[in-house]
Symmetry: C2
Subunit: 364 residues, 2 copies
DNA sequence: GTGAAAGCGCTAACAT
DNA sequence: ATGTTAGCGCTTTCAC
């Protein structure tokens, strides 16, 4: 339907003649508008130097033949694709859709898109990453909870800027943004202890996840210091079912806990359900439960989960800022942005009144 | 660090010299491996004709300089990008992350990726679509609940195959895959009525959404025929809060319902919470509640929501099949695939025993 | 302000 | 089996 070839007779068919419905190109628009191909290009670029009436004419012609610029051809030259990769490990956890939602909306306002790389739990992250690199994305945001060990290598291989969100890693010099998980863990332990709890337990997430590890470290440190005993610990695998199982196992203990801090909300919800329904306990009367993240469901009255909110929107703002900073200065020293979170007091934890205000911990 | 230029003195710098860290290209690999550039290309293509030892050599050289093929340059020629666009309207509804998860995992097994287009509720869909088209995606899956009116136009402008998932549209000849929403509505009305309910109510989703409309049509038809009265209807906007509000308004009625069918699970969950917590009612003793979708949360014991399951995995399989069929035959008549769903019986609805088996409705 | 020409990194036809 | 060559659709000098 376009192209410079003459009438298509049956003879050696070139590739483009074989294409049934090839998309119109800037060349087609140029022909239709009676201008040069480069004029079309300029008409579609923001600061392009074209006379207003020429641009008008070109845009009309483009409209008429349903022309849309090919972003890949453009990116070959500009070296920008307008795509940001989001690497997630467990989109089933509602925290990630919230990140995805926030991120994609922020990006869209500046004409960018998110390409999702949904890596499964056992897939080695570096393999996934080389899959990402092919796409020449302008930046990579990794929110995967997978063991970060190979990220070190990655950051060397990558020409695209990388930022880890909601996790950190010691071994590699990489930009990161996260909550102050360590302080949060301490804060929550103190909160529980201050309110008269004597046996706080911790429900951990995935083994290798820095977030869970840090929250645990802070929590355990305070519990140990103040009670002289290690907190009970169960593994919840960052899933709802894991939370259910963790609660069960915690209560098989001879001295079961009187309060539980789960390393994320989805586990806390599982804990809550197991406590109330399977074990017939009253929350918060018998046991206090605190989560982490503040996903939407946490606010639903059936759960009314007291939790530690991560500042998702700010975290993403920071991630995008780090990304663009690294674009302009690839050699800049890696930054580790730590944002403060907020305790959100609801009904799943019995906390003493002197702490009942919305308090905020400072960033470390 | 690469490129064919000589030593970089300060003079008119070409674009590539200005780039600090330009990625290695196949040319760089060719030079490193002592072969031609096209040999490199072949080494990276699946059926490429290269001697095994040459390929080895090339891959090693590529590895050494961290070369990754540029997918955009490739797509310029092959006319395939390996990207599938997923257009969603409300990723906050957990049904969509489930779709996204399933889709992205299926695509990844065949080396494809999903690019997410997360359009906000008020954004005109055709604008969003022209954003999609720039990306030359191999296919577009629209799972947006937005008023479909402009999709008609769209399908004409689009050279990429399009399939609507979880919605249909009369005005445009477009491939669609969905549940048999109409039959499902009828089925659920009969189920409720058969179990002794006398005043079934319906909680509708977004006004323009075909899914909600069809479910309502089937439901209302049966209720009207069997009880002689229209069912009560409230609008829930496809959100949790909408469900809460809908339940409230339903019970402001002089003759409140004894059973509620919500057009999706997230609303049903809102209904449940409002019923139990705000209105102090017992579910299912006082009121039966049925949802639609069977999102993960529906199975949680706190809710134990009886619902009508959509066959997500099969729907996506069909969508991908339709997409690839349309690639090979762009002129094929649009297909409207209708898949049967399944009732999932849990505890939120009081249903009579003779219906207590997992029953399945046939596709229309 | 506009057009001609070069070339982004790659694949595919064509020689060899 | 390998290299040479011609573009894919676009942006960007460079003349005019």
């Amino acid at each position: 339907m376009n192209k410079k070839n003459g009438p298509t007779l049956v003879k050696k068919l070139s590739r483009q003649e074989l294409v049934v419905h090839s998309k119109p190109t800037s060349r087609d628009v140029a022909r239709a508008a009676g201008v040069s191909q480069s004029a079309v290009s300029r008409a579609f670029t923001d600061g392009g130097k074209v006379a207003p009436e020429t641009r008008e004419k070109i845009l009309r012609a483009a409209e008429a033949i349903n022309y849309v610029p090919n972003i890949h051809a453009r990116s070959l030259i500009t070296r920008r694709t307008g795509m940001i990769a989001l690497v997630v490990g467990d989109i089933t956890n509602p925290f990630y859709p919230e990140i995805l939602d926030t991120l994609s909306k922020k990006l869209q306002t500046v004409g960018q898109r998110v390409v999702l790389f949904n890596i499964s739990r056992d897939e080695p992250i570096d393999l996934a990453i080389s899959g990402v690199l092919k796409y020449q994305v302008d930046g990579i945001i990794i929110a995967s909870a997978l063991p970060g060990i190979s990220i070190a290598e990655l950051s060397l291989k990558t020409y695209s800027p990388v930022v880890l969100i909601n996790r950190t890693i010691r071994s590699a010099p990489v930009d990161t943004v996260s909550c102050d998980n360590f302080s949060a863990g301490k804060f929550l332990a103190n909160l529980l202890l201050d309110s008269g709890h004597r046996r706080p337990a911790f429900v951990a997430g995935l083994a290798g996840a820095s977030t869970s590890v840090e929250r645990e470290r802070g929590f355990r440190e305070v519990v140990l210091a103040r009670t002289g005993k290690e907190p009970l610990i169960a593994n919840g695998d960052f899933t709802y079912q894991g939370g259910v199982d963790a609660a069960r196992s915690l209560f098989e203990n001879k001295y079961p806990p009187d309060s539980i801090f789960a390393a994320n909300d989805i586990m806390a919800l599982g804990v809550l359900d197991a406590l109330r329904i399977e074990l017939g306990l009253n929350v918060p009367k018998d046991v206090s439960v605190i989560g982490f993240d503040d996903i939407g469901t946490a606010a639903w009255p059936s759960y009314s989960l007291t939790t530690f909110r991560q500042p998702v929107s700010e975290m993403i703002d920071e991630a995008l800022r780090l990304l663009s900073e690294r674009i302009s200065d690839p050699k800049r020293k890696p930054a580790n942005v730590v944002l403060p979170g907020t305790i959100v007091l609801r009904k799943s934890a019995r906390l003493s009144t002197k702490r009942q205000r919305k308090s905020q911990i400072a960033s470390a």
